[in-house]
Symmetry: C2
Subunit: 405 residues, 2 copies
Amino acid sequence: MAISLQPPTKLLPIAGIRIATAAASIKYQDRDDLVLFELAKDSSTAVVLTKNQFCAAPVEVTRAHLDTSKPKYLLINSGNANAGLGKQGLVDANRTCISLAANAHCDRSEILPFSTGVIGEQLPVDKIESALPALLSGLREDAWLSAANAIMTTDTIAKGVSDQVNIDGNIISITGIAKGSGMIRPDMATMLAYVATDLEISDQVLNEILIQAVEQSFHQITVDGDTSTNDSCVLMATGKSNVSFNDLSKQAKDSFILKLNSIFLKLAQAIIRDGEGVTKYISIKVEGAQTKAVARDIAFAIAHSPLVKTAAFASDPNWGRVLAAAGRATDEPIQIEKISLYINKLNVINCGERSKEYNEESGQKEMQKSEIEFCLQLGMGDSEITVWTTDLSHEYIKINAEYRT
Amino acid sequence: MAISLQPPTKLLPIAGIRIATAAASIKYQDRDDLVLFELAKDSSTAVVLTKNQFCAAPVEVTRAHLDTSKPKYLLINSGNANAGLGKQGLVDANRTCISLAANAHCDRSEILPFSTGVIGEQLPVDKIESALPALLSGLREDAWLSAANAIMTTDTIAKGVSDQVNIDGNIISITGIAKGSGMIRPDMATMLAYVATDLEISDQVLNEILIQAVEQSFHQITVDGDTSTNDSCVLMATGKSNVSFNDLSKQAKDSFILKLNSIFLKLAQAIIRDGEGVTKYISIKVEGAQTKAVARDIAFAIAHSPLVKTAAFASDPNWGRVLAAAGRATDEPIQIEKISLYINKLNVINCGERSKEYNEESGQKEMQKSEIEFCLQLGMGDSEITVWTTDLSHEYIKINAEYRT
């Protein structure tokens, strides 16, 4: 069960983006598993793709198409990742683009394909091809919610966020959807995210904005430390508001980016709240590090520790495991006598010694909550980071042991 | 249940090493949990300790004592790690040494203390002190097996190996014991290992031999990627065989070291065979890497992947997860078209394409075995490594969620 996460009830349409969904029975039955995004002419698009060296075929095709053309369509399927299939995978990813291009009368390089799901099984291209005419005729602005549902795999709840920002009297809208639940870690995971705004933003600026937004959101979450072969995050700007980012004041730019970053962060946190088998939503804040890199190494060592995660699952205030994970995370010196540790607001360790307010009972009370924050203060510098993760439950194992059955 | 691992039935005594065990009820009832090793005068000792920056109090005391004196006694307790306790932990670790020194009429710095067990709970020093007189009066050469049992925590089987090597007509004996099951990864884990020989070896040479032996054994295993605060590995040489390592021919030196390394490797592998919740004993061999470091990074990324480990638990030939873990492990280039992957002898991927002999059924047949080898051939160079790990089972979570209850 997801932790304090409700499915979106309404997502704002973005002028210039039309969406259709369809049920192609790729893996799942009786639900949509195909999504088509259509971008208005002159829209800008920025894309961050997985750094996994064994990236999936659609990622390779998307990368090649981005080098050639301005994207006009995004074609997304769930249920099959089209990864680990060698040349056949590339043939299949290209075939879906060629078919869509023929139906939509555009160049195949104007299409970006995305897949998410099981690795190593051949993509049923025929099923996708059959659904293309209906997708093209069903395009409409108000289908973000259907798209959020159609891209889900092991997700239990659809993830989407909308917001508006008033810039000098003009209402700018931003809507984003994401999917992801397992195989989640920085450098993008088995996640897909699509965010769009009606602001006009050049490709280059949009790319800079996307990299910043991903850095403080999807790059600060982890479920299991595994980076997927298919991760993709797309940011689109249609310009249909007739307001251009470039013409904005510094202050207006900042308020737009603040809003956009907040949407990215909410989507990233939604992925953790719905992480595979999650019973605890865990924030790990590391403060007082020498550098951001040290803070990050320590925070992720704690976040990835199966012992910390199983203790959280058991509501066991086994803070020794948090310190043990921190102690192996970096070669930079850390001094126990400078360390303080909090579980939520409860002080556990104060300057290297057990805090007087801490006892097993008070610790357990905090650990029993469904949202837990570990705050580790190192006292070695001014850098800090927060990362978000899940516990490690029986359900996680069940999900991942039975994923293909 | 441990995988193909039998408890040792007989361990050879090492002349110059006397051992006693006792039940001090530190955490466990009705079993021995204290061990005392006595080293004959002029024995050499080499020690490798955890690199965890938050090392336990006994590790700090051991490090300080090694700087001052030649060790005469090792005092080991299970059930309590005496870690994460600030100044109190140091006071307690020192108190055990002071008491033993008074009973044994030696200097406290001649005693090395070791603890393994729960982190963050105060060491019951009184219980240990009460047992000291009986330990001292019970010392005998033939107690290695009792010691192997007494140092266990979540281990289900005692771990010990003995062997002899004939060097120019002289029989040299080597006996080693180890404990460890969870919180296991390179740089030593919640493991303790004590190995002794009756060969005469200088402190400096013994240290070099130990570092080499640990490198190819305990540094190539992982259960959960967590490095403990208490890991210690001790190699002792009593010289009671009246044969000196320094006087040996190159060939005789090599055959001794080969035997010693093999004992270290067997102990390390025994820890994996008895890893927490293990149902599969997994070898991960990476061949054809540019450097040993690349091979190691890839092998451990696979070994630590919860997705690979849960697939192994489910006997699911989800080889895509192996490739996905490898693909995120290194920044050095790896090329899918050069990759081959085997599960045991079954060829899964051949030069980046699915092998013709592979199908789901043949893959499942291999994965159902209790011993699985993934062999990943990169075709990028000549470096290789093998690491050993466990699967990730419901039992692992049960053990670690309930450890302190």
